[in-house]
């Protein structure tokens, strides 16, 4: 919808403008939910990796909720969780899921659609 409106305006946009329109506003709060199952080394690693990525790229505008399915198994169905660990980006929309321990930061950033802070600035 937006695109078609823009097309009618036929006003050229700079690369920076396009990037800003397509990506979440920089002041938006990121809601992330990490599903784990008990305190396994993989869960611990996933949380640590997530924490690091957020601190590096989303400092001050993120919330991480950790859901332990061992304690709340009924929550697995809500977000259609199969794999553990799974990171769900609740906000900003659209919903994204990343499975795995997030050890590959680049792929995690791509998955979360986070513009690396270093590149953005």
């Amino acid at each position: 919808m937006k695109k078609s409106v823009r097309a009618k305006e036929a006003k050229p946009l700079s690369l920076q403008e396009i990037r800003e329109k397509n990506e979440p506003a920089s002041n938006e709060v990121w809601q992330l939910r990490l599903y784990v199952a008990g305190q396994t080394p993989r869960s611990v690693a996933a949380f640590a990796n997530l924490k690091r990525i957020c601190e590096d790229h989303l400092a001050g505008r993120y919330e991480i909720e950790v859901v332990d399915l061992m304690k709340h198994p009924q929550l697995a169905a809500g977000d259609q969780i199969l794999a553990i660990p799974t990171l769900v980006r609740k906000l900003p929309q659209p919903l994204r899921k990343i499975v795995g321990d997030l050890r590959d930061t680049q792929r995690a950033l791509v998955g979360l659609q986070i513009r690396p802070a270093a590149m953005g600035e």
């Binding site: 399915l69 061992m70 198994p73 199969l82 794999a83 499975v99 321990d101 050890r103 995690a108």
Partner: protein, 590 residues
Amino acid sequence: MSKTGIRKTKADQELGKENRRLPKAPTGIQGLDEITQGGFPRGRPTLICGSAGAGKTLLAMEFLIRGATEYNEPGVFMAFEETAPELTQNVRSLGFDLDELAKEKKLVIDFVRIERSEIDETGDYDLEGLFIRLGAALDAIGAKRVVLDTIENLFAGLQNEGILRAELRRLFRWLKDRGVSAVITAERGEGALTRHGLEEYVSDCVILLDHRVIDQVSTRRLRIVKYRGTAHGTNEYPFLIDEDGFSVLPVTSLGLQHEVSEERISTGVPRLDTMLSGKGFYRGTTILVSGTAGTGKTSLAASFVDAACRRGERCLYFSFEESPGQLIRNMRSIGLNLEQWTAKKLLQFHSSRASFYGLEMHLAIIHKIVQEFQPEVVVLDPVGSLIQAGNRRDAQTMMIRLIDFLKQRQITALLTNLTSGGQALERTDVEISSIVDTWLLMRDIELDGERNRALYVLKSRGMAHSNQLREFLLTPQGVDLLDVYVGPEGVLTGSSRLSQESREKAEALARRQEAERKDRDRMRKREALEARIVALRKEFEVEDAEAETASVEYGLREEMIAHNREAISRSRQADLVKDGVDGKRRKGAR
């Protein structure tokens, strides 16, 4: 309700028998428990594979539903393809109410959605989430059964196949450890049972469903590829999906152990009973009536049905050529009122074109109806047309299965078969002649510009049957059999028979008259002779009397002569005979 009750107790018995071997989880599906000897392996995973639309989901679902309703084993259905409302709707048309079962906590449907587009992968992971979900669902209702339909969808959603395979192996291990009877469905793969080689992990029981279309007729078949620890049937078994769900036809396993009856039942035609050593067919046997077109096969079948209903027995009439209405109308013309029996629910007609379904479907339908209606008599009219629904070999196997099935249930079956013109009469298209017990052959006899029907008993096992050919007559009062005349010109029927009859009558009359005439002649002769005897006797008497008179006269004359001589002598004073004369003189002097 009572039907399921019966099935349950039967399955329970089966289960009891099987318990000594491998524990089984009965599926409650008609026929499947028989060929698997009790059901799927209890506490182990079973793989059901087949191409799209083969009925995998339905089989799995029915396993759960029957488990929940009939065997008190709650179940979890983990759906990877369809959502719970979709599944509920799908099986509602088969008479299963999933909502109700869910409310009673007997069934849980868990829809697992995997959207690859919203999933990225980075680093290590496992499927603990799935395990937890499944575990939670199992615990929520104390499930004994699980269905994973179709777990292969995981391969579409997750990229790391190495992890996936390891996790699947763990999953099946975990299911075994939990002791749930699991059913896993999978798509048929190219050159392999499943697309992703699931058979590698699920090796206890593998069932293959197949849906083939041959000559535009589709047939569903089921085969047990393997079943550890059970001597299962290895054939392909036809199955069908209808308004009552899934049913497999295990009939090839019936064998020849059926009971036999000594009871005899009337054929509905008194003369035919006489031909079959006076009492008719044995109950529970199979009768084949074959003949060319228009020889009265259906009429004979209808007479048999009528007689059975008259005895109060239940009859099923499967017609592959005529509609019930047409049959009833046509049979009225030979004085059979079949409508009264349908009204009394003793008789049921089932008409369907042979080509309408595949053979297996026909067989399955017949099975089902027979099981529901519990008849004493079944008529299939005509069986030959079933070949149209399959090839000859299939038709023959099907007939054997069907006959075994009916015999097992002590049902007397009458099959009609049309022999096409130009063929030997003593063969049937379906080649079932060797497996029937009684074979009545109907033929037509063309003579003197007429076509008449004749019937004879080609064989009838276990009875001294007549070897005579009889004329088969359709009268407004029903079917009748008459003697036929066998003469130098062959067999006489119809008008020839009638003229022969009158000829014989005339001859008999002439013979009788001749005999009477001879009798009269004899009497006359006798009377004449007797009269002559009387006359002769009279004559004799007369002569006798005359003779006597003559004799007396002679005596008198002699005396007179002697007297006269004496008198003369005396007068002459002669003494010729002194003594005599003296005496006579003295005498005379006195």
